[in-house]
Amino acid sequence: MSVAIDLTMIWAFIIAFAVFVYVVMDGFDLGLGILFPLFANKSDRDVIMNSVAPVWDGNETWLVLGGGGLMAAFPLAYAVLMPALYTPIIAMLVGLIFRGVAFEFRWRTTQSGRNRWDLAFAGGSLLATLAQGIALGAILQGIHVEGRQYGGGWWDWLTPFSTLTGLCLLVGYALLGATWLVMKTEGEVRDRAYRLSWALVFAMLGAIGAVSIATPFLSVQYAQRWFTWPNVILTAPVPIAVAVVTAMLLRSLANRQDYRPFFLSLALFALSYAGLGISMYPYIVPQSITIWQAASPRTSQIFMLFGVSVLIPLILAYTAWAYWVFRGKVRPESGYH
C-alpha cells in the first residue's frame, strides 16, 4: 500500500510540474500577445513575434501533456474538471487557435490582412489567459461532485473570485512577456519593456496579495492550512520569499540587467504556484476528490513512469538546445521570412 501511495504522490508532482512548465513557458508567450497592442509599429511587432516563433509550439505542447497526463494519471479528476470548466476551456481553446495560427498567417498576407492576424494574436492571447485564470479560480473555489461526475451548474465557474484570478493571471503573464522582451530585444522596444515591467511588478504584487487574501475566505480548510500551528513553519517562508524576490526583481530593473528580470519573474511564479499547491494538497478537485481517489490504477502509473523518467529529461535537454540555438537578441533588420 505504501508503494501505491508513493506512486500517486510522484504522479501528482509530475502533473504539477508539467502544468508549471506550461504556465511559465506559454506564460511569457501569451504575455507577448497581451502586450502586443502597446507596440503599434510593424517592425517592433515583427521583433516580438520573431523572439518566440521558433519555440511557441514546444511551449504549448506542455498544455497537451497537462491535459493528456491528467487523463492518464488522474482520469476521475479529468472527467470531473473538464465538464465543470466547460466554458473557460472552450474559450481557451478558441483563443489558442487564433493566436497560434497568427504566427504563420501574418507573414502570408497583405498589410490589412496582417493587422487582422495581429488582432487575432492579441485577442486570442488575452482570451486564453483570462480563461486559464478563471479556470484556476473555479477549481480553487471548489467543484460540486455527484458520484463520479460533475454535479454543478453551467455558470458555477463564474464568480467574483474566479474573475479576480482571471485578471491576476493577465497581469502575471504580461509581466513574464515584458521581462522576456527586456531580455530578447534592444533599443526602443527594450526601453518600453522596462517601463512596462516596472508597472507590472507592482500590479503583480497587488494580484498576489489580492488572491492570497481572498483564498482563505473561500473555505475554512484553506485558512487552517495557512494560519494554524505548526503549518505556519511551512507556510510562512512563502510570503517572505515573495518579498525577497520582488526586491531583487526591482533592483535588477533599476540596474537594467537585461537577463535577470525574466528569471526573477519566473521565481515569483514558482512561489505563487507553491502557494497554490500548499492550499490544494491533498485535493486534486478541492474539497471533493483527493489525488488518491482520482489516481489511475498502478499498472497505468508504472507503465507511464518508465516513459516519463527517461523522456522528460530528454525533452528538457533538446528543448534547452532549441532555445540555445536561438539565443541572443532579436534584431529588426534580421529577416525572418
Partner: protein, 470 residues
C-alpha cells in the same frame, strides 16, 4: 439552432466536425515531413540546388499546415474531457497512457526540432539541420503509432480487465498496444498519408508543368510524386483488403454495414456496387450487384455463407447508409489513384511525362482526392464501430459528459465559426504559395540572424538556455 437535439448527438457532431478538420493536417504533415527529409537528404547527397529549392518551397507550406495541425490538435486533447467525461473516467487508465506517450515521444520531438527545422538552417549547419528535419519526420510517424494504437484499442479492445469502479484497466500493456486491428490500421493510415501528400505534390507539379513544361522544380516533384502513386497505390489497395479481412474477424457488423448486407446469405453473398441502404426497412433499395463476389473477396470462396445484420440485435446496428457510402468513396478514390499511377507510368515509358496535358490535368484534379479518401476512410471505420465507443463494451450513449444541450450546441457553433474563419484563411494562404512555382534560390523561412550576435556573453546565453528548462 439545435433546439430539440439530444446532447449526445450534439457532442458526436462536435467530435466529428473538429476531428474531420484536424485529421486533414496530420495526414498532410506526416507525408510532407517525410518528403522534406527526403528532399534535404537528396540535396546533401547530390548538392543539386533544385532539391534545396524544393525543400524551401515545401517548408513554407509545411509551416502553415503544421501550425493549423497543432492548434486543432490541442482542441482534440481536451474534448475527451469536456464532452466525453464518462468515457475519460472509464477508459482513461488504458487510453490515457497511450496518448501521454504520444505527447512525450512524438509531440515534443516535433515541437522541439521544428523551430530549428524552420528557421535554423544558417544557425546550426547542414548536418544538424538535416538531423532536425529527420527528427520532425520521425516524430510525425511516432505520433501516428500511438494515436492509432489508442483508436485501434477502442475498435478491437484486448489486454484489459475491469476494476471495481467500472474502469478499464490494463492487464497486459503489449496486448493493449498491439491489439488485433492496430498493425493493419497503422499501415493503412501511414500509406494513406504518404499518398495524400504525393497527390498534393503531384498536383502542384502538374499545375506548373501544364503551363510551362520546362520548369526544373515542378519536373522533379511531379516525377517523384508519380513514382509514389505508381508504387504505393497498389500496395495500399492490398493493405486495405487485409485490413477489411481483419475487420471481418473482429468487427463483423462494420463489414456488414460497409457491404450493405442487411440479409444473411447462405450460399455466396453478392457484392453490392451501389444502391440506397434503407435503415428502417433493413434493406438496400435498387441494388446493382455482382452475385457471389462479396463472398469471394471476404472468404475467398464463391459459395461461402456470409452473415448479415439480421443476425445482429437491432440496437447494435451501425448507421449503414453513412458507412456504406463513405466506404465506396474511399475505394473509388483508391482506384483513381492507382489509375493515375499507371497512366503516369505509361507516359513515362513514352518519354512524355512532362509533356502530357491530359496526365497533368488528371493529376491536378486529383490534388485534394487524398484528403477526401482519408476522411471517407475514417468515417467508414468510426461510424462502422457505432453504437459503441469501446467496441462491444461501452456504448456511445454511456460515454458522454453530463451536459445539457445548450452548452454543447453553443460550443459546437463556436467551433464551426472559428474553424471556417481560421482554417479557410490558412488553406487560401497555402494555395497562394502553391500557385507560384518554386524559383531558383527559393527564399525559405530560415532567418539570417547572425549566429553570434554582438554583446552576447556566454553567461547571458546560458541564462537564456536555462529559460528553456524553466
Amino acid at each position: 439552432m439545435f433546439e430539440g437535439w439530444d446532447a449526445v448527438v450534439l457532442a458526436r457532431a462536435q467530435f466529428a466536425f473538429t476531428m474531420s478538420f484536424h485529421i486533414v493536417f496530420p495526414a498532410f504533415s506526416i507525408g510532407l515531413a517525410s518528403y522534406l527529409a527526403v528532399l534535404e537528404a537528396l540535396w546533401l547527397w547530390t548538392g543539386r540546388d533544385v532539391f534545396l529549392n524544393l525543400f524551401q518551397y515545401w517548408l513554407k507550406i509545411f509551416a502553415v499546415a503544421f501550425g493549423m495541425g497543432v492548434v486543432s490538435g490541442i482542441v482534440m486533447s481536451y474534448q475527451f474531457g469536456t464532452n466525453w467525461s464518462a468515457f475519460s473516467d472509464k477508459t482513461g487508465p488504458v487510453v490515457g497512457p497511450l496518448m501521454a506517450y504520444e505527447v512525450l515521444t512524438a509531440f515534443f520531438l516535433e515541437a522541439g526540432f521544428l523551430g530549428v527545422m524552420l528557421f535554423g538552417l544558417k544557425r546550426v549547419g547542414h548536418r544538424l539541420h538535416f538531423f532536425a528535419t529527420v527528427m520532425v519526420a520521425i516524430g510525425t510517424l511516432i505520433s501516428a503509432f500511438w494515436i492509432l494504437s489508442a483508436n485501434s484499442w477502442m475498435q478491437t479492445p484486448s489486454g484489459y480487465a475491469v476494476n471495481a469502479q467500472g474502469q478499464f484497466v490494463a492487464a497486459n500493456w503489449l496486448n493493449v498496444i498491439f491489439n488485433p486491428s492496430f498493425p493493419y490500421r497503422l499501415v493503412h493510415m501511414v500509406l494513406a498519408a504518404y499518398l495524400t501528400t504525393a497527390l498534393v505534390v503531384g498536383a502542384v507539379g502538374a499545375f506548373h508543368l501544364w503551363r510551362d513544361s520546362h520548369l526544373g522544380g515542378p519536373r522533379v516533384m511531379f516525377s517523384m510524386a508519380m513514382w509514389m502513386a505508381t508504387l504505393v497505390a497498389p500496395i495500399q489497395i492490398l493493405a486495405g483488403d487485409q485490413h477489411g479481412l481483419n475487420t471481418l474477424e473482429h468487427q463483423p457488423a462494420k463489414v456488414m454495414a460497409m457491404e450493405g448486407h442487411y440479409q444473411s446469405h447462405k450460399d455466396g453473398a453478392p457484392l453490392i456496387l451501389f444502391g440506397l441502404p434503407d435503415q428502417t426497412a433493413g434493406k438496400v433499395k435498387f441494388p446493382i450487384e455482382i452475385p457471389k463476389l462479396s463472398s469471394l473477396i471476404l472468404k475467398h470462396s464463391l459459395d461461402a455463407p456470409l452473415a448479415g445484420l439480421d443476425t445482429v440485435p437491432r440496437e447494435n446496428w451501425p448507421p449503414v447508409p453513412i458507412t456504406f457510402w463513405s466506404f465506396r468513396i474511399m475505394v473509388g478514390i483508391g482506384f483513381l489513384i492507382m489509375g493515375l499511377g499507371l497512366f503516369s507510368l505509361f507516359e513515362r515509358w513514352r518519354g512524355k511525362l512532362y509533356q502530357s496535358p491530359l496526365l497533368h490535368a488528371y493529376a491536378t484534379a486529383m490534388g485534394p482526392a487524398g484528403f477526401v479518401a482519408v476522411l471517407a476512410g475514417w468515417i467508414t471505420t468510426e461510424t462502422g464501430r457505432q453504437p459503441f465507443t469501446v467496441y462491444g463494451l461501452l456504448r456511445t450513449a454511456d460515454s458522454a459528459s453530463p451536459l445539457a444541450s445548450p452548452a454543447v450546441s453553443s460550443s459546437l457553433i463556436a467551433f464551426v465559426i472559428v474553424y471556417f474563419a481560421v482554417f479557410s484563411a490558412g488553406v487560401i494562404y497555402i494555395l497562394r504559395l502553391m500557385a507560384q512555382p518554386p524559383h531558383p534560390g527559393e527564399p525559405g523561412l530560415p532567418s539570417d540572424i547572425p549566429a553570434r550576435a554582438a554583446g552576447i556573453t556566454p553567461a547571458a546565453a546560458a541564462a537564456s538556455a536555462e529559460g528553456a528548462v524553466g
